[in-house]
């Protein structure tokens, strides 16, 4: 029984890191109505930004994470504006494929700059905390706290701020939003900035948790999408719950099946969701 509990804890930990890029992806999907797969490589960029801030500039962790947010958000919205916006005019499919190409491009810019090796941040390796017979990594606890904080801030932003209301308006009904004189373009850019920034924080936390290399984004792409599909694409709470489910699912697969097939979980999860409840748990009508 304690094994199952440990599994759940491990899963929730890894799921909480997946949560932020998943929210970002969902956000862009909801407001801009297209899947921007470049979130994966933006997460990698976030991870490397934190690495550079921490290891080269010797900035403290909170500053490094904020730095990751800014860099990721800027590159995200910049690349979107230059390269993806023209494609959106040609349709969702063109934009989606374009975002895949952009993802490859950005991943290789990272590879060009840093090489393929794993990089670790200057974080002390500490023994786990043991609570009620369950192991939890000390760094993991910090990471979950960071992720939860970012998510809560975003949630409050969406609910209460003017820009948040505008984003929801555009997401729910773009035509009506236009009638209300909401500048869809500006809202879109802000959304992309925030969403990509979140992905960047996600990448930074992943880097803190283990390490960062150019393939970080590719590794989380399928689980990220699976989390959004399960939770209901375009839904904020959906992304959170979906990430938790995927996290736990991957841990279970590692133990029950084989650690090598972990990534198969995302794939199977999507297939099952699409067969049972295609619009996801928190689907919007």
């Amino acid at each position: 029984m304690s094994e199952a509990a440990q599994l759940a804890v491990n899963g929730l930990m890894s799921g909480s890191l997946l949560m932020l890029p998943a929210i970002g992806f969902s956000l862009i999907y909801g407001v801009l109505r297209f899947p921007n797969f470049a979130v994966a490589s933006i997460a990698t960029i976030g991870g490397f930004s934190a690495y550079v801030a921490n290891v080269f500039f010797h900035w403290p962790l909170p500053v490094s994470i904020a730095f990751a947010f800014l860099i990721a958000g800027s590159i995200g919205v910049g690349s979107d504006f230059l390269l993806l916006r023209p494609l959106r005019k040609a349709g969702i499919v063109a934009a989606a494929i374009g975002s895949l190409a952009l993802n490859i491009f950005l991943e290789n810019v990272v590879r060009f700059s840093f090489g393929n090796d794993l990089r670790g941040l200057n974080v002390p390796i500490m023994r786990d905390v043991v609570v009620l017979g369950l192991h939890v990594g000390r760094q993991q606890v910090f990471n979950v706290a960071w992720a939860a904080t970012a998510a809560i801030i975003l949630f409050l932003l969406l609910k209460n701020s003017r820009i948040g209301k505008q984003m929801r308006a555009v997401a729910d009904n773009p035509m009506l939003a236009r009638i209300q004189r909401i500048d869809a373009l500006q809202v879109g850019n802000i959304t992309t900035f925030i969403a990509m920034g979140l992905a960047g924080i996600g990448g930074a936390l992943l880097a803190l948790d283990t390490s960062v290399d150019p393939l970080l984004g590719f590794r989380i792409l399928l689980p990220l999408f699976a989390a959004c599909v399960i939770g209901g694409i375009g839904s904020f709470p959906g992304a959170v719950v979906g990430a938790a489910i995927i996290g736990i699912g991957e841990e279970m697969a590692a133990v029950l099946w084989s650690p090598a097939y972990r990534t198969g979980v995302g794939f199977i999860a999507i297939v099952i969701t699409l067969m049972i409840r295609p619009s996801g748990i928190f689907s919007r009508q």
């Binding site: 491990n10 390796i125 090598a260 972990r262």
Partner: protein, 398 residues
């Protein structure tokens, strides 16, 4: 007067030969050799020094007059530690450069892919890949390897573990074809010495955390965990083991626990880790001069093997009836089987052969270099070290 006439005739002959266009000679005047090494990819830290050591051997042989007057020409190709690239590079070496031998392939997957191309084209292949299956291929003698098989090295490791008092061991292996044979051999050896191999978990190298694997490994409280992987994954594994509070013994391969790993982990995480490598002949004069030439204090085992392979190929070429892959194949045992004058380098061996010595035996820096019928080395010394304060220190050589 006789001497003058002889001199005159031989100089005339030389002039005549020089005036002939090269194509009219049956053979070209250089012997082409190839090195297919990982300059990039996961083996990328070894490739460059492997190539350099081969270059050095050939340079020395050329400076001493080459093989029967013919110079050796080396082409180095990068296999990117990837079998597809390896195959393309090998095709180029065989078809375009027309090499008679390809040396120093490192990754087992590359060697497995490239071997058929070699034996089909009668090109001699020397490798430092360890997968048991490689020498089982129908290579018709066109392949030798200087790296011990998994069986050989695992037997040594198993006995060592029993010697240091391990009763319950667990094996965490990277996803490679070595994983299954390693488990089989280690389990058998431990059982024969009164211990048990509790189990094995095989992990996908592409991951950044192995907590679940470690939880599995620690479940039955082993005295020792064997981390059979490469530098990036072993780095993560050691960190995760520390976090999980594991206090038992740990052992890993020497090529994984290298300078990079030791400098990226704090000393308390790596304290006490045992490492194992096939032992180079560290004391020998040749080893020292190789280290000096490469400007390092320690030469990694793969570079030692590449060095030996180059020497063996040169000696076989000298001994062979014709300087082709088939010639090397037929002569290789004659220069490596025990018996005869022992030589430690190609230059000395060539000199001995040319002055009429009937049998020479090359003794290498990576080991004694005695091969069996299918091209495997018959024995190896294993060198066990233990990390203290972030630095490896010699523990035992068996």
């Amino acid at each position: 007067m006789l001497v003058d006439r002889r001199q005159a005739i031989s100089s005339l002959a030389a002039l005549f030969a020089a005036a002939l266009p090269r194509a009219s000679l049956a053979q070209s005047s250089t012997i082409e050799l190839g090195a297919l090494v990982p300059l990039t990819g996961s083996g990328g830290s070894y490739g460059p020094s492997m190539a350099e050591s081969i270059k050095w051997v050939l340079q020395n042989v050329n400076d001493a007059g080459g093989i029967n007057g013919r110079k050796l020409n080396l082409t180095v190709e990068d296999d990117q530690t990837n079998p597809d690239s390896g195959v393309r590079a090998a095709r180029k070496l065989i078809d375009v450069n027309k090499v008679v031998a390809i040396m120093a392939t490192w990754a087992s997957s590359v060697t497995t892919a490239v071997a058929p191309l070699c034996w089909e084209s009668h090109t001699f292949l020397t490798t430092d890949s360890g997968a048991d299956s490689i020498t089982q291929l129908p290579h018709q003698g066109y392949l030798i390897r200087t790296e011990p098989t998994t069986t050989l090295i695992m037997t040594k490791i198993g006995n060592f573990l029993a010697d240091i008092g391990v009763k319950k061991a667990f094996l965490i292996s990277a996803q490679t074809p070595f994983a299954a044979p390693a488990k089989a051999v280690l389990g058998k050896v431990l059982a024969s010495r009164g211990g048990t191999l509790l189990g094995q978990v095989v992990y996908d190298r592409d991951k950044t955390s192995f907590r679940s694997e470690i939880d599995l490994a620690m479940k039955d409280k082993p005295d020792l965990i064997f981390l059979d992987g490469y530098t990036p994954d072993v780095t993560i594994l050691l960190g995760d083991l520390f976090r999980a509070g594991y206090d038992g013994k740990k052992i890993a391969r020497g090529y994984a626990v290298n300078e990079k790993l030791l400098s990226s982990l704090p000393p308390n995480v790596t304290e006490g880790v045992f490492t194992v490598v096939p032992s180079p002949e560290v004391g020998s004069a040749t080893y020292k001069s190789l280290a000096q030439h490469l400007n390092v204090t320690e030469v990694d085992p793969y570079t030692c093997e590449a060095f030996d392979q180059a020497n063996l190929v040169c000696l076989a070429l000298q001994k062979a009836t014709q300087p082709t892959g088939t010639g090397i194949r037929d002569a290789i045992h004659a220069v490596s089987d025990p018996g005869g004058t022992v030589v430690y380098g190609a230059v000395d061996g060539i000199k001995a052969l040319r002055s009429g010595t009937r049998k020479i035996k090359y003794s290498g820096v990576s080991g004694p270099c005695i091969f069996n019928q299918i091209g495997d080395i018959v024995d190896v010394k294993a060198r066990f070290e233990q990390v203290h304060n972030g630095k490896p220190t010699l523990f035992k050589i068996t």
